[in-house]
């Protein structure tokens, strides 16, 4: 059965270069053709979303249709970024999926209470990571309806 795939940009906040490379490889393996961009920490994520800092005045940061967020990152961690995004009326409708090595109950519960759309612990094997990304793709890009790209920062006055 073929379905339409949402042609969205996906931003992943992940500080570990090896994890990024692993996700990129698994991404290609999962035949995900969507535009995937990486930011290195929560601060860079907020700059990307708000077009500030190194993303100021550029068109190089299309509004993502989905954010994949690591919890443990330097400068601003995933918890703080999640809270900030979900409190920002311009950004809070962007779905966020936590992808982290932490399986601590307090992280899981706190993330859901802060409004995360779902919480996934990073699989330890490459094959399992490919499986997770395939299911993520099917769920978010083929089954779920996403909000229209109504608030691209580039369109804001």
């Amino acid at each position: 059965m073929t379905m339409n795939v949402h042609p969205i940009t996906i931003v992943m906040a992940e500080d570990d270069p090896e994890d990024r490379m692993l996700v990129k490889d698994a991404w290609d393996e999962s035949m995900l053709n969507n535009d995937l961009r990486f930011v290195g920490d929560g601060e860079e994520l907020m700059d990307y979303l708000r077009r500030t800092g190194k993303y100021a005045g550029t068109a190089a940061s299309p509004r993502p249709g989905l954010i994949l967020l690591d919890l443990n990152m330097p400068k601003k961690d995933g918890r703080a970024a999640l809270e900030e995004i979900k409190r920002d009326p311009e950004l809070h409708d962007i779905p966020i999926v936590i992808l982290t090595s932490s399986a601590a109950e307090e992280d899981i519960l706190r993330s859901y209470n802060l409004g995360v759309n779902s919480y996934i612990t990073k699989p330890v094997t490459f094959d399992k990571l490919v499986e997770v990304l395939k299911t993520l793709k099917k769920y978010w890009l083929e089954i779920v309806e996403l909000p229209e790209n109504h608030g691209d920062p580039g369109n804001r006055s």
Binding site: M1, K86, H92, D93, P95, A103, E105, I108, L109, Y112, N113, G115, N117, S118, Y119, I120, T121, V132, T135, L136, K138, Y139, W140, E142, I143, V144, E145, L146, P147, E148, H150
Partner: protein, 87 residues
Amino acid sequence: MPKKDGRTALNEIKKDPELQGIPVVILTSSKADEDVLKAYDLGVNAYIAKPVTFDRLVDVVETLDKYWFEIVELPEKVKQRHSEEGG
């Protein structure tokens, strides 16, 4: 839905500190942009438009099952209540 519609229930759940951690997935016949956006604004975890064919509905249910019960982590208290009630 009659009496209390889904938007109102969603809003109530996501504002209640005891309940807001429970994932809510909208399954509705409406694909209207304003309904989709409003639901995400109110904090829905995902919005799914009901498929029109049975085969597609099976596909949606299977994907929901795999996503939420095999891939995703749920808060412990959601799982506990689930097992307490024999689910």
